[in-house]
């Protein structure tokens, strides 16, 4: 029964914090399905494959009116709270649309000043109260680790509802890494999948959790080659390189973008994250050599793809949008489908997707 599923029960908060990253996953997952979605590292290779499979099946089911109506019934008895203390309209809309896709209803709390925290209530009591009314919490919070803390806290109550981390602090934004993996998987589905591909990360690799999460997740795939292309002050941190080394993943740190373009299967462009600047130091950096321009299209393999987590500024010329290898707009929509698939897996309705899809394609 659903109530019995509670993987975080029985460990103290301090013991959980002290666990090595690789061992935290079993407190997030129930068997091979996620229960909470807190860290990209909780997904092993089979879980990623399954997530991509369910995402594709759900997306294809959603192409017809009958299929959409099937999806509308799939989780129609569940309700989600989208609790965004840190504003992000695009991530909010993606999650909101995902809940609607699988028939869930949701409410959202986006402005904490209207909450009764002002009356002297503890943040834990506030979230516990809000969670009383819902079956799933989707949480974005400026404090690193807050979503995990709430998941742990609710584990020790009568209603241990699942928690999805929609971005907390500088460290984790697991659903972004998962949608990037899915976009790669979908792009290469006729080329043997992600294994053996060459992927470059370009731009601001120091800051921004997206690149960090995705790079380490890609080390779960075989025969990869990763390139890190950035101006010196924004290059990837040594911790990520160490992790790749340990996983046996090949990589190269380089400053010459144009030279490597012809070798690549995927280019992951990023924005200069100057919101983390302490004194506008980004302005002194010449990032222009790390922009993808229209002229670069002729250097690119015909089956390669250009990705970007968006929003973009000048990293990719608008003229590039019309090239079929520019998949960043599709990536946006993949995000919605991956999030819908996560909800299906959390509530263990993936078997119903398998059955409907089987009947559909018979």
């Amino acid at each position: 029964m659903f109530r019995e599923r509670n993987p975080m029960r029985g460990i103290t908060w301090d013991d959980y914090l002290d666990l090595p990253s690789g061992e935290k996953g079993k407190y997030c997952n129930c068997g091979s399905n996620p229960f909470h979605v807190l860290r990209s590292q909780q997904f092993n290779r089979p879980m990623l494959e399954r997530l991509c499979e369910i995402t594709t099946k759900t997306r294809r089911i959603g192409k017809t009116r009958g299929g959409m109506n099937f999806l509308q019934d799939l989780l129609s008895e569940k309700r989600a709270m989208i609790y965004f203390v840190q504003p992000s309209t695009r991530t909010f809309l993606s999650f909101a649309a995902a809940t609607q896709m699988v028939g869930m209803r949701h409410e959202n709390v986006r402005d904490t000043t209207t909450s009764s925290e002002i009356k002297g209530e503890s943040p834990e009591d506030t979230v516990r109260t809000f969670s009383s009314y819902f079956d799933l919490i989707i949480m974005r919070h400026p404090t690193g680790g807050f979503a995990e803390r709430i998941a742990w806290l609710l584990s020790n109550t009568e209603r241990p509802v699942p928690v999805i981390n929609a971005g907390s602090g500088k460290d984790q934004h697991p659903t972004q890494a998962l949608l990037d993996i899915y976009t790669l998987q979908r792009s290469f589905e006729n080329r043997g999948g992600i294994d053996g591909k060459k992927v470059a990360f370009v731009g601001d690799l120091l800051r921004g959790r997206t690149v960090r999460s995705l790079a380490t997740t890609l080390s779960l795939y075989e025969g990869m080659k990763l390139y890190f292309v950035a101006p010196e002050p924004l290059q990837i941190g040594p911790d990520i390189l160490d992790a790749l080394k340990e996983a046996g993943t090949d990589y190269e740190v380089t400053y010459d973008f144009e030279k490597i373009i012809p070798e690549l299967d995927a280019i992951y462009m990023t924005r200069i994250q100057d919101e983390w600047d302490t004194s506008e130091e980004s302005r002194a950096i010449d990032t222009e050599p790390y922009h993808f321009k229209e002229k670069h299209l002729s250097l690119l393999r015909p089956d390669a793809v250009i990705m970007h987590p968006l929003p973009r500024r000048k990293e990719i010329a608008v003229e590039v949008d019309e090239d079929p290898r520019a998949v960043y707009w599709r990536q946006v929509r993949n995000g919605m489908w991956v999030r819908a698939a996560l909800m299906i897996l959390i509530f263990e309705r993936d078997g119903e997707i398998d059955r409907y899809y089987h009947d559909l394609t018979r």
Copy 2:
């Protein structure tokens, strides 16, 4: 297939802008149904008749629990984004209720400060991202022509979703004109419809897009007589009078309200729109002779109607509300039904309305 429907494809933005008003309609419509709802002028007489017919059928179907449940299934696989940069709770609620009426789900973006425009993204990228998650965009924006621009822009992407203009700048608010037409049609359904009726516009006729849109739309009907009743500084603009002249619609500009009341079939009252004042110039104008007072009820034909787009101030005495000829509260509710009917037409589900209604009234 739905994806193929994309009337704005294949024209440049500049060419579209240069088109005479009367030729823009074909880029908004798909055959005899609207695809985008951008301008009141895109509706010709047969389209208006069909809109009124579908509105009435939908409204009547909605009177029973079974009928409401039929409507709940009608567009249950579609989702709308209500994107209101310019605040308007009443228009927002009318559209939100309309989506719910036909079973759609919606999300809304009402506060642009929470969007990632702050990170340097272009407004076009922002709207394209938001639209990725939805099947319909309902847009209110302070900039004239913005909704058309977005409709055109999305026409050149993989997902050309329909756009409804819920008010942009000073120029267009097409669904208001359509609900006014429907209110007149419904009021005169036992008197041969709108053709041949005498309609007075009273109040601030210079500013406010409502009167301007409705007056030109009424020129599509036969044998009309329009009266413009306002203090001199707020009288109707010569452009509208020229348009009526060209269409062969009879009109009269007058300053004596009481004198014409007995002749009228419909009185369209309006509020002084002093929010457009540059230096409180409205205060110097005596608008009191242009108020509808309780004593005027005895002058009015028994089958005439009093309309108002609301909100009102003192233009209509509260005592008038109880008279059955005061239809402005019904007009509010008509707005919801007309908007629901537009969604039905946009997604070409009007045939399903016809069939259900036929069975219902057999």
Copy 3:
């Protein structure tokens, strides 16, 4: 037919205001079901019993996926407006979740600055416009009596929609009293119900409508003994004591909390409501003797319960949360179910609950 149900029709506002409290109920109820939910006093004993019965049946039906889907269809053709001028995230979420539980859709208006009241519209016109789109209004307002005023006003229109008071001014918050009653009823369902129980109110009894409403409602039960335990400046008002006296309900005003704990069946803890302070006078009061501490658990009867309307500050030690007699988190969730049951009763769908529940438990 629904439209005919309109209990407030035919009385003037002044006559309604002049009625003694006990006679106002018949203008809120239709037969033995509530139509409006405006005052806790409109519920007599049989109505409270019926509300508890429908709440329990609905809650149990909601335990299975099939039952939840039945509930999703129960009021699927109705839509609610949640109009909260006074912010309260927890009450808002509880009502929003309740509407979702019984399949209703809702919209909310929470920020009046975006409404067109700014254009000079009367508050009555604003609410009437908003109500045009919905079948139920759930209203929270800082002005005492505002919800009743709106209910009366709409009674004299073509669409007399029901109104639920979700808190108005200092006086009424009827759904809080009803969820408290339900929590007591549920806690004592195997001990003969509420009759004959000993209930203590502890903390700030002077301010805060919760205690006042609940105490008077409990006077409808037989053989009760109520205790009022508070520091002198925050003791219960003489008006409540007079009402209890008149109803023949036994009570005791006391200052010694620890002494009475062993006698009690239920302890209703409350927060010091210093938001009503005019000059921080609460700070001078020593409230610490009126806190429930971990050590008090050993004094408490094994079948007693500890309640709190939340949010709490230090009135109850966090360590108490894990004791099974601490029912305040369950009380939160009861609030959602009671509100859902009220909607079922308002729209007279309680017979459908009876039938489904009968089949379920056969």
